[in-house]
């Protein structure tokens, strides 16, 4: 790929901001628009931009594909694990009330963990999709 100086400099400047924004959307989703689904997609967009600008090989060095497979399943495991944890504590499946000292605290913790699981799975799944399509082109 022909290196493009402007593209490289701007991308290096913008990518950290995109990741920061994704984290904001992830953890501020309780109070404003946002949540795990949006944050995951924005987070993966940062890495897609990186691999479009710097090449697929470089991007795969930063996030090896087998990590992505682990992360994608880890998100689902976190989500289902919160449900099982509330079962162990004596509540119903995915009933977060017993996770904290009060109902509000429990619900807050439960929603935070569940959204985290959603965010991890969505981000990893989107990157798996992109790498699969982009990697198919090389022989």
């Amino acid at each position: 790929m022909r290196p493009n100086l402007i593209l490289h400099v701007i991308a290096k400047f913008v990518i950290p901001l995109i990741i920061l924004f994704a984290l904001y959307v992830q953890f501020h989703g309780d109070f404003g628009p946002g949540g795990g689904f949006q944050a995951g997609v924005i987070f993966s967009a940062a890495f897609i931009l990186y691999s479009l600008v710097f090449g697929l090989e470089t991007a795969e060095k930063i996030i090896p594909p087998h990590w992505l497979r682990i992360l994608a399943s880890l998100g689902v495991v976190i989500y289902a694990g919160v449900g099982i944890e509330s079962l162990i504590l004596g509540g119903n499946y995915l009933d977060y009330t017993l996770l904290g000292s009060t109902q509000i605290a429990g619900q807050h913790l439960g929603i935070l963990l569940v959204e985290l699981g959603v965010g991890i799975t969505v981000a990893a799944a989107m990157l798996i999709l992109f790498f699969a399509f982009a990697g198919r082109g090389r022989e």
């Binding site: 109070f31 404003g32 628009p33 949540g35 689904f37 995951g40 997609v41 969505v122 799944a125 989107m126 999709l129 699969a132 399509f133 198919r136």
Partner: protein
């Protein structure tokens, strides 16, 4: 006029839905068929969000001094449906890529000719 404003959204939803359906059943190119399916999908999103809107309402984020909110339930359903939609679209596109690698074409007519199935 009130009747027009009150039903305009639903009519545009139906136009989009029919455009999507027409693309799916009349075009032979598989990528274009998938785009038709996506247009159909977006029209369903608009149907749900239109049904959830309340006149003079605010976004469903609880705040002091706001009395009327739009319906949060369609937002939840569509929010998840959009992300699931892109995942299923990617699956369909992956199938198209495999069809191209096997048959060498993504035109439906040519695939039928190669299979002698029409």
């Amino acid at each position: 006029m009130d009747f027009f404003i009150g039903h305009y959204n639903y009519w545009v939803v139906i136009i989009l839905m029919m455009v999507g359906l027409y693309t799916v059943i009349s075009r032979g190119n598989l990528v274009k068929k998938i785009i038709g399916l996506n247009i159909f999908q977006v029209s369903v999103f608009f149907l749900y969000i239109s049904l959830g809107t309340v006149e003079g309402g605010a976004a469903p984020i609880i705040a002091e001094g706001v009395k009327v909110y739009s319906n949060p339930l369609p937002h939840v359903l569509i929010l998840t449906a959009i992300v699931v939609g892109v995942a299923t679209t990617a699956l369909a596109l992956a199938l198209v890529v495999r069809i191209k690698e096997t048959y060498g074409t993504i035109e439906e007519d040519e695939i039928h000719n190669l299979d002698h199935s029409l």
